[in-house]
C-alpha cells in the first residue's frame, strides 16, 4: 500500500499545525464560529446533535494493522471506546472535544491518516471497490489510480471552493461494488483491445434528487485519466449553480445543461489540459502501482479448510455467506460483519478494531478494507487459516454470517447523532435485524439489501436499496417511507416509492410482511427479491404492504 513520502509527511504536519492554531484562536475568542466553521469543516470537524464529530478518511477503504490499531487508540483515548464506519469508507468519532481534536489529528498523522477534505465543498475521500486487489473478476487494482486522484485532489487550488461537495468512486472490475453510478464521477474499469481504461460516468447522486450517472466517455485510456477528471471538475466549477444549494451538485448541472453540452465542454477543456500534464502523472502512477504490488502469497493446502467446511455447519454457513472468491484459488476474501443482530450498523469497539488488526497481521498479509456497506474486509486470507480466523472472530462477536442478507443493513447515524436528520435510522435497523434473527429466515430469503436514511440527504443509500427506508418528520412524529427496487451495482436503478409512510411502530412489521410476501411471489428459490420485483413490477409488493387498500378496492 501507499507509504507517505517526505512531502506528504511535511504537508500533513503543517496542516495539523495550522489547524491546532485555528482551534486555539477559536477557543480564545479571536475567531467567531462563522470564521472558524469553514476551517474546521476543511479538517473533517462537524458539530452534531450532542457533540462534535470527527470524520477521518480511509482512502479507498484501505488500512494496515497499525492504522487500525491507531483508530482504536483514538476511540479509547478521546472518544467513548468505539468508532462508526460510514458508507464513504470513512470512520466517524461521535464524541470528541474540540480542544482534543488537534491531538487526535497528530495521532492519525503518525500512521499516515488524516481528515482533510472529508467535508466542505471539495473533492471528498476517493472511494473504491472494497475487494480491490483481491477480487477474481478484477481487471486491475483500482487503488493506484485512487491514490493518484487523492494526491491530485488534496489541496488542489482550483477545487477548494466548488459549488458543492464532489465525490469520486473507482472500481477496477466490471462488476460494480463501489456504487460508481451514484457518484459525481464514477470510474468503471473496462478493457478495449486488451488495454485497460475507464468508462467515465458523471452526474450520479442520491439525496433529494436521486439520479443514476450518465456515461460521459465510454472508454477513456488510463493514461488520460487525470487531465480528463480535471476537465470535468473545472467545467463543473464554472457551470455549477452557486445560487441554490439544492441545485449545486453536478447531477443538476448535467441534467440542466444536457449530457451533450457537458461532453463538448469537457472534451474542449481536456484538449487544452492533456498536454499540460506532460506525463508527470503517469510517472507518479507507475511509482504508485509498484507500491500497491500484491503481497507475496504463500501456497496454501486447502485440505483442512475442506474438512472443516464439511464437518462444521456453523463454519460452513459463515463461509457460504461471508466469503468471496479471491483471484487465487487457495485464498479467500473475508467480510467481517459489523452488523451483529441488534447492534448499530458500522460500529466497532476499540477492542474489536484491535482484534481485527491482529488478525489482519497474522492471517491477511497486514491488509484490511472498509466497505461502503459498513463492514470490514480481510482481502487476502489463505484458506487453511479460515477455521482459526472464524473462531477468533466468533469469540469477539464478529462472526455474524449475514453479509448481503436482510440484516446486513446500511444505516446512517440518523437523529441519534446527526444534526440534519429528520428521524432515527439506527433503531429501525436494529429492530429489523433482531426480528429476522428471531424468524431464522434470512438465509432462506437470500440476497437482500435494506438501506435506511434518516433524512432526504440519503447517506444511508436508501434509493439504491432493494428495500429502501427513508425516515421523515411528519408533523412532529417520525414517519418512514419505503422505496422498492433500487440497485447500486452495474445494473443501477433508483427505487420507487411504494406509497404512504409507516409509523416507527409499523415499519418493522411492514418490512417483515414485504419479505414474507416475496417468498410467496418468487418463481424459484434462486430468484432474488430484486429479480422478482423486476419481473413482477411494483403492484404485488404494494398489495402486500397495503392490504387495507386492496380490501377497499375489492
Amino acid at each position: 500500500m501507499y507509504r507517505y513520502n517526505e512531502f506528504d509527511t511535511a504537508f500533513l504536519a503543517e496542516r495539523n499545525r495550522q489547524f491546532r492554531a485555528q482551534v486555539e484562536r477559536r477557543i480564545d475568542g479571536s475567531l467567531t464560529e462563522d470564521e472558524f466553521k469553514p476551517l474546521r469543516l476543511m479538517n473533517g470537524v462537524y458539530l452534531q446533535l450532542h457533540a462534535y464529530m470527527l470524520r477521518v478518511a480511509i482512502p479507498y477503504g484501505t488500512l494496515n494493522s497499525a492504522q487500525m490499531r491507531q483508530l482504536a487508540l483514538l476511540a479509547e483515548k478521546w472518544d467513548k471506546g468505539y468508532g462508526h464506519f460510514t458508507t464513504r469508507q470513512n470512520i466517524q468519532y461521535n464524541w470528541p472535544k474540540l480542544n482534543d481534536i488537534p491531538d487526535m489529528l497528530d495521532a492519525l498523522a503518525e500512521v499516515n491518516l488524516h481528515a482533510i477534505q472529508t467535508s466542505g465543498n471539495t473533492i471528498r475521500n476517493v472511494t473504491a471497490d472494497h475487494f480491490a486487489g483481491a477480487a477474481a473478476d478484477e481487471i486491475e487494482d483500482p487503488r493506484p489510480v485512487a491514490e493518484l486522484i487523492r494526491q491530485w485532489s488534496t489541496d488542489h487550488p482550483e477545487f477548494q471552493f466548488l459549488p458543492r461537495k464532489f465525490k469520486i468512486a473507482v472500481t477496477g472490475s466490471p462488476n460494480d461494488r463501489a456504487v460508481v453510478k451514484a457518484h459525481d464521477i464514477g470510474l468503471r474499469m473496462i478493457e478495449r483491445d486488451g488495454n485497460p481504461g475507464f468508462e467515465v460516468i458523471v452526474g450520479g447522486g442520491l439525496g433529494r434528487t436521486p439520479m443514476i450517472g450518465k456515461v460521459v466517455r465510454d472508454f477513456l485510456p488510463k493514461a488520460d485519466l487525470l487531465p480528463y477528471l480535471e476537465a470535468i471538475v473545472s467545467v463543473y466549477n464554472l457551470l455549477g449553480r452557486r445560487d441554490n444549494k439544492y441545485k449545486a451538485r453536478i447531477k443538476i448541472t448535467v441534467h440542466e445543461n444536457g449530457l451533450e453540452k457537458i461532453q463538448e465542454l469537457v472534451e474542449a477543456r481536456f484538449a487544452v489540459l492533456r498536454d499540460q500534464f506532460g506525463g508527470v502523472d503517469q510517472a507518479m502512477l507507475a511509482d504508485l502501482e509498484a507500491q500497491f504490488a500484491p503481497p507475496q502469497f504463500r501456497d496454501a493446502d486447502t485440505g483442512a479448510f475442506e474438512a472443516a467446511y464439511t464437518n462444521d455447519p456453523v463454519f460452513r454457513s459463515w463461509v457460504d455467506t461471508n466469503i468471496a472468491t479471491h483471484r487465487r484459488a487457495d485464498h479467500a476474501i473475508v467480510s467481517i460483519s459489523l452488523k451483529a443482530h441488534g447492534a448499530t450498523p458500522g460500529d466497532a469497539s476499540a477492542d474489536q478494531m484491535r482484534l481485527m488488526a491482529d488478525l489482519a497481521q497474522e492471517f491477511a498479509y497486514d491488509e484490511l478494507r472498509i466497505s461502503h456497506e459498513q463492514n470490514v474486509v480481510l482481502p487476502h486470507v489463505a484458506k487453511d487459516a479460515l477455521p482459526q480466523l472464524f473462531q477468533a472472530l466468533k469469540a469477539a462477536g464478529l462472526g455474524t454470517a449475514n453479509i448481503g442478507l436482510a440484516s446486513d443493513i446500511i444505516a446512517c447515524p440518523g437523529m441519534d447523532y446527526c444534526a440534519l436528520a429528520t428521524a432515527r435510522s439506527i433503531p429501525i435497523a436494529q429492530e429489523i435485524a433482531t426480528r429476522f434473527e428471531e424468524l431464522k429466515l434470512e438465509h432462506e430469503v437470500g440476497d437482500l439489501k435494506i438501506k435506511i436514511s434518516g433524512c432526504i440527504n440519503a447517506c444511508g443509500h436508501h434509493h439504491v436499496g432493494h428495500i429502501g427506508i427513508l425516515g421523515l418528520d411528519r408533523a412532529g412524529v417520525e414517519n418512514y417511507q419505503i422505496t422498492l427496487g433500487g440497485d447500486g451495482t452495474e445494473t443501477a436503478s433508483i427505487g420507487e416509492r411504494a406509497g404512504p409512510g409507516f409509523s416507527a411502530d409499523d415499519i418493522v412489521p411492514a418490512i417483515e410482511r414485504l419479505v414474507l410476501g416475496y417468498l410467496d411471489l418468487r418463481a424459484t428459490a434462486d430468484e432474488t427479491f430484486l429479480q422478482a420485483y423486476r419481473r413482477l413490477g411494483a403492484a404485488p409488493f404494494k398489495a402486500i404492504l397495503y392490504p387495507e387498500a386492496r380490501e377497499k378496492a375489492a
Binding site: R26, I27, D28, G29, T32, E33, L47, Q48, L49, H50, A51, Y52, K80, W95, P96, K97, L98, N99, T344, M415, D416, Y417, R424, I426, P427, Q430, D473, G476, V477, E478
Partner: protein, 99 residues
C-alpha cells in the same frame, strides 16, 4: 393574524465539549433543560437570543427551541429536542448517562 408566540428556551452547544446547553435566567449555561429560562414574551425572547449569540467564546449556534410547561418546568415539544436533552437511543451515552 400573527401566530401566537409559544414558550421557548435559548439553547446552543458548548464551545469545547459540543454538548447541549440552555440559557438560565441568571445568564448561566446549564446542561439541564429544567434549569432553562422559559421565555413567553416574543420581544424578550429575541433579546435573550441576541445576548446569548454574542457569547461566541462559550457557545456555538444559539437558537430558540419550543418547549411546553409541565409542572412549572420546561419539557420539549419535538422529538429532536427530546434527543438533544437526553442522548442517542442506541447507547446509554450523552446526558442520560451523566445525570
Amino acid at each position: 393574524m400573527p401566530r401566537e408566540f409559544t414558550p421557548k428556551v435559548v439553547t446552543a452547544n458548548a464551545l469545547i465539549e459540543g454538548d447541549v446547553i440552555y440559557l438560565t435566567e441568571d445568564d448561566r449555561w446549564s446542561r439541564a433543560l429544567e434549569e432553562a429560562e422559559v421565555l413567553t414574551d416574543e420581544a424578550h425572547a429575541e433579546l435573550r437570543l441576541l445576548d446569548a449569540s454574542a457569547r461566541q467564546s462559550e457557545i456555538v449556534g444559539a437558537y430558540l427551541a419550543d418547549v411546553k410547561l409541565a409542572g412549572g418546568t420546561a419539557a420539549p415539544t419535538h422529538f429532536r429536542e427530546d434527543f438533544r436533552r437526553t442522548g442517542p437511543s442506541n447507547y446509554f451515552h450523552g446526558k442520560q448517562a451523566e445525570s
